[in-house]
């Protein structure tokens, strides 16, 4: 009996050990380039480790049973007539329930830290006057509004391109340029079918929906050029619907902006 328990403890610690080792050493995700990314990756790591423990544990249990309890040639008759075990069944109902609840609360916390739980009810008066609704995407705003000094950009998506309108500079660009470490607010609208705005390095995605503008806020943290990918089937060239986001130092961004901006037209 003692022997058996020792083996069990050994195996369990091995499963945990392997899972933690893999969880901390195998990186399945692309570079982290926004404030969201490290928060996301924290959740990913936890889910990955719990998942590995359950998967490796179950696989060992199945394969072990197949070997240990396989019918030898000389055996006849049946296995033990074990029909159930109430306390065991209660245990394996309650433990998963607790795990699931904890994961749920934790991911709520993560989502809140990403800013996703904020209701975007700014412009409320203006909105109620027409049928248009603005749905909230991930948001980093600490208050409920898109701060005035944020960089705000209007994104329009169409088969099969993204266009980025910089209202302050009064110009439209096919490439998204943003300064590093600054909050960006985007209002996105589609001209035809549903598209989606996805930057894998930022861990954010939001559908761009015709007739219902969506808001997406993010803060890039690393200078570089990253792909913007359309992630919603939008027609034959869906796979080719890509653009780039260029995250650059403030000064480079300013230079680019000034080169492109059109003079104000005063009426």
């Amino acid at each position: 009996m003692l022997n058996k328990n020792i083996y069990l403890i050994l195996i369990i610690s091995l499963v945990f050990g392997i899972s933690f080792w893999i969880g901390f050493n195998v990186n399945l995700l692309p570079a982290e380039a926004s404030i969201n990314a490290p928060i996301y990756d924290e959740l990913f790591k936890i889910l990955f480790i719990i998942g590995l423990i359950i998967f490796i544990g179950m696989t060992i249990a199945v394969i072990y049973s197949l070997f240990k309890f396989r019918k030898r040639n000389d055996q006849i008759g049946d296995g033990i007539a074990l029909e159930g075990n109430l306390s065991l069944e209660i245990v394996w109902t309650i433990i998963p329930s607790i795990i699931v609840l904890l994961i749920g609360l934790y991911s709520y916390n993560i989502y809140d830290r990403m800013g996703g739980m904020k209701e975007l009810n700014h412009n409320h008066e203006m909105m109620s006057s027409n049928t248009e609704k603005i749905w909230a995407g991930i948001s980093q705003t600490s208050d409920n509004e898109i701060a005035i000094n944020n960089l705000s950009i209007e994104v329009s998506a169409m088969q099969f391109a993204f266009l980025f309108n910089y209202p302050k500079g009064n110009f439209i660009s096919g490439e998204l340029h943003v300064p590093v470490d600054q909050k960006v607010s985007m209002k996105m609208e589609s001209k035809d079918v549903i598209h989606a705005f996805w930057v894998p390095e930022f861990r954010i995605k939001q559908d761009i929906i015709p007739g219902q503008p969506t808001i997406l806020n993010f803060t890039p943290t690393k200078v570089g050029k990253y792909p913007i990918i359309c992630a919603e089937l939008c027609g034959p060239y869906h796979g080719g619907m890509r653009a780039s986001i260029i995250v650059e130092e403030e000064s480079d961004y300013k230079e680019w902006f000034n080169k492109n901006k059109k003079p104000e037209v005063n009426l």
Partner: protein, 541 residues
């Protein structure tokens, strides 16, 4: 009103064609209808599998060079639609349900044999129509989800045929669902208690409830969609003031339960197979029943987890996260119970057992990624990417298709009176298991790193991993060869099976193989202990 069935009239043998021809006629025998569903489903599986191979060939290189881009989208749409509506749903419900349920409740046929036959005969024409739409003006190309406005703006005839076909198939499964509920509740032989029914009956009861509650919503939605296409109405068309997100809510109100319509029957089937080959009672019968019902209830309230990026309000995201994650609890219970059923048994390692154990391992994997996907922040990054493609193929292929094969190895002797060859069966399992994991495991990485789904072309950095995946798909395609050879050889000159080659206790084994038209020569046997392995009665009967 009483339902009266006169099997003498409905199944009058002298009026029915004999031999093979039986299967091409409007038969009312539940066993014939079951086989019709299975064979028809398998033919569509071969078509759907060919399309899958075409997709994987296209994806072996980053450019769109194997077929034009719009054809790629048609092939993709057809593949998904065929696999769901013409292979998995008809087979795990229609085929096995029709064959087994009357035996399990001790009846000589289903409650409504004619409705049953109609339900089957809706399938081949609507399936052929769907496939034929490719040759008319191009098939539908908006994906199996047919999201407007894309489905409104792509070429119309293909999309309309797609809607018509899915409507007919939905009708077929509603007819089937009503029939299963009526049969299980009303046709149980006297003395057979509900809590003594084989587990597959419970699974089919739960599934049929889902079918009857959710399929009409899909039908209504698709009818509205067809109005938008043909009659220029504006339910979902944003140009005319329609709301595209409402379509998604309605669509997923059916299509999320649809995944349980595909896996619950598989849960039922594996619960029949494991006890027989492990020679042990099914562990935790009562918790198994409650977990099925728990899955049914939770399955109906989680649909919006498919819409976390569609602009749903935050409270809704929270609710659907928690509800979805909780499905892991009843599902987990079932998996622990199956492993406990194996524990301490005298397990025969045969094809049926291997496919069932493969199912457990694959499904646990798919279930874990499912719990992860339920978490909004996690889902936002991987939604509509290859991570999701990998997840659901682990469920539908690694889960349900593995169980379909396991069931075929298990019940083939009953249906044909011949044994399948074990060596070929085990070969089939090994190739399928390796091919499957090689094909779909790497796709998790693809999704996490930036490959969206439903694309004919992709970033060249993903080429190597895609080639591994395509190699796996090739192996999977090849794995059907030993299976088909096995069926052919065994039907022609397989070993005689006898009535009960596995020494099983459920009622279908207590009659001849193949069974007579009315299932039993005399009175239907009353089986009190369908899982009474290791008890006295095993010796007696």
């Amino acid at each position: 009103m009483t339902i009266s069935i006169d099997p003498q009239k409905t199944n009058n043998e002298s009026l029915q064609p004999k031999g093979w021809l039986r299967y091409f006629s409007f038969s009312l025998d539940h066993k014939v209808i079951g086989i019709q569903y299975l064979v028809c489903g398998f033919l569509f599986y071969l078509i759907g599998g060919t399309l899958a191979s075409a997709i994987r060939i296209e994806l072996a290189s980053p450019m769109s060079d194997f077929m034009p881009r719009d054809v790629y989208n048609q092939v993709l749409t057809l593949h998904g639609t065929i696999m769901i509506f013409l292979w998995i749903v008809p087979v795990v419900n229609g085929a096995f349900g029709n064959y087994l349920i009357p035996f399990y409740v001790g009846a000589r046929d289903m409650a409504f044999p004619r409705l049953n036959a109609v339900a089957f005969w809706l399938i081949p024409p609507s399936g052929l129509m769907l496939v034929a739409s490719y040759f008319v003006d191009g098939a539908a190309q908006a994906g199996w989800t047919a999201y407007p406005p894309l489905s409104i703006t792509t070429p119309q005839s293909g999309q309309i045929i797609w809607i018509l076909s899915v409507l007919l198939l939905g009708g077929s499964s509603i007819f089937g669902g009503i029939n299963f509920i009526a049969t299980i509740i009303k046709l149980r032989r006297p003395g057979l208690k509900l809590m003594k029914l084989p587990m597959y009956c419970w699974a089919m009861l739960g599934t049929s409830l889902l079918v009857v509650l959710s399929t009409p919503v899909l039908a209504g939605t698709l009818i509205l969609l067809s109005f938008d296409i043909i009659a220029n109405t504006g339910f979902f068309n944003p140009v005319l003031g329609g709301n595209v997100v409402v379509y998604q809510h309605l669509f997923w109100f059916y299509s999320h339960p649809a995944v349980y319509i595909m896996v619950l029957p598989a849960f039922g089937l594996v619960s029949e197979i494991l006890p027989v080959h492990a020679r042990k009672p099914l562990f935790g019968y009562t918790t198994m029943v409650f977990s099925i019902m728990g899955i049914v209830v939770l399955g109906l309230v989680v649909w919006a987890h498919h819409m976390f990026t569609s602009g749903t309000p935050p409270w809704m995201r929270l609710f659907f996260t928690i509800a979805t994650a909780f499905i892991a609890v009843p599902t987990g219970i079932k998996f622990f119970n199956w492993v406990a059923t194996l524990w301490g048994g005298k397990i025969s390692i045969n094809s049926a057992m291997l496919f069932s154990c493969g199912f457990i391992i694959n499904f646990v994997f798919g279930g874990i990624t499912g719990v992860a996907l339920a978490q909004v922040p996690f889902d936002i990054h991987v939604h509509d990417t290859y991570f999701v493609v990998a997840h659901f193929h682990y469920i539908v292929y690694g889960g349900t298709v593995f169980i379909i094969f396991s069931s075929i190895y298990h019940w083939f002797p009953k249906v044909t009176g011949k044994m399948l060859k074990e060596k070929l069966g085990i070969l089939h399992f090994i190739i399928t298991f390796i091919g499957f994991n090689l094909c779909f495991a790497p796709q998790h990485w693809l999704g996490l790193n930036g490959m969206p789904r439903r694309v004919a072309e992709y970033d060249p950095q993903f080429q190597f991993v895609n080639q591994i995946s395509s190699l796996g798909a090739l192996l999977m395609a090849m794995s059907t060869i030993p299976f088909l050879i096995n069926v052919y050889l065994s039907v022609r000159n397989g070993k005689d099976a006898g009535d009960n080659p596995w020494n099983a206790l459920t009622p279908e084994w207590l009659t001849s193989s193949p069974p007579p038209v009315e299932n039993w020569e005399g009175e239907a046997p009353l089986v009190e202990e369908p899982y009474g392995y290791g008890k006295e009665i095993t010796e007696g009967k």
